[in-house]
Symmetry: C2
Subunit: 289 residues, 2 copies
Amino acid sequence: MSLVDRIRLFHPPELSALRPFLIQGRRLGWILPGFAGRLAKFPAVFEVGADAVRLKDRYDSDESRSDAVAGVVEALAREGVLPKLRHERYAVARSFYDKPLMGLERSAVPSFGTLAYGVHLNGHVGEGRDMKMWIGRRSRHKATGPLKLDHIVAGGQPLGLSLAENLVKECGEEAAMSPDLARRSRPVGFVSYLIQNYEGIRNDVLFCYDIALPADFRPVNTDGEIEEFYLWPIAQVIETLATTDEFKFNVGLVIIDFLVRHGLIAPDDPSYPELILNLRIRDHFGDGV
Amino acid sequence: MSLVDRIRLFHPPELSALRPFLIQGRRLGWILPGFAGRLAKFPAVFEVGADAVRLKDRYDSDESRSDAVAGVVEALAREGVLPKLRHERYAVARSFYDKPLMGLERSAVPSFGTLAYGVHLNGHVGEGRDMKMWIGRRSRHKATGPLKLDHIVAGGQPLGLSLAENLVKECGEEAAMSPDLARRSRPVGFVSYLIQNYEGIRNDVLFCYDIALPADFRPVNTDGEIEEFYLWPIAQVIETLATTDEFKFNVGLVIIDFLVRHGLIAPDDPSYPELILNLRIRDHFGDGV
């Protein structure tokens, strides 16, 4: 096992086995054939073809699209086809900076394969080979990745908050970090991927942040999302990442990016290009844009 | 003008206008039609077709290939078709980690469009918005980019040295940095591109390093390659990069990568994805590998 095996988890699936999800003729996501079959039972809302699933063009506003799809999502959640509702909506758009075409219930996002965003914070103490990193163990009650290892702070990006505001909010909830301390976090780029897993299609952009924490800081979880925190030597983080499945799947990608930026993976290692070139996907919709 | 304009300089050219350079049937570089016409005058060494330029298969060793091409390169340099020889050979291979198929005179590398490597060091004092960065002005006698602005230290990667060894050597020559200080440099990734310019085709991978320098350190050039050093506020570096052509073309790419990693470009900026996604090219040979 190696970090290269971890990065290969982010190779995209065979896109010809998926159906693009179209709104007003534009690709906004990806749908698996089984779920397309379920949507075919709602012909007033979706036009399900062998080549694509289209939201009916007559829904011509953000609000009408959101409401029509919400009705279907709620019905399918009641049937157990979709997971329990989280009553939180994610934006559906071609890019983080575009006006959303609709809002979509968070728990249904992997079923429609629309873009989702997160903020992920690497909390470290010290630098170089002697560095330690704060690692959280996710609550056993989390919908995705219960009991998996995680960053000190990470969270989905809701509508209506800036990335910086969301990060400060999550730092308070997940680690009892004061806003002043949280604002010392530094944006350092993003990682992104398009993969198929048990949830459906994850089409994600994770905005990455680093924070060099004081040696005496101790994170305390306040929202029940983290069971326990560990301050691990970076060598233990790397070893655990390379040899086990203990980390939540997408945390590995953010940590590999961190290791590269902090010189903890060296360019004389022949896997250096593969590790770096697979940190990000360019084409989230398979249309070359 | 903006940093986005800088990053767009690294969009690859229309590859159909170039001819792949093949050795033993594999793509190793790119040749412009005019230079292909010059190579056609050496039919014992090159097979020049409309679709590709092939090194004759009868050269079946590293040494025989290097010698055959060196003869042509020297003849073309005497005619003034190629620039003055630098008497330094670069490796010709599909990757930095592959055994080279031949060595090629450095001054001819852009004419064959083969991969070239460099080490580029960002020397900064302090962190965040108050950071300063050491900037060199290249000697008026340099073959490429005379009098352009540059990093504190940067250099090509010769055969026979590790990246770390080359960086320490260049730090001594270009900035009189002691080996102990130079070794505090931290590898932080690479940038890469395939572009056409007045030299021909630049098909480059630049290994990037950062060094946080002591406030009292003053670089002194010892090899005549830098005329002068400046310690600039980072805002002046960004402004100069965004609004002038003073920086050597590829230095801009390394500095944009630095600005992203150090949080000096923020993810709420809609140009963030474009800046980050264009830092690296995946396909140096146009064959999708």
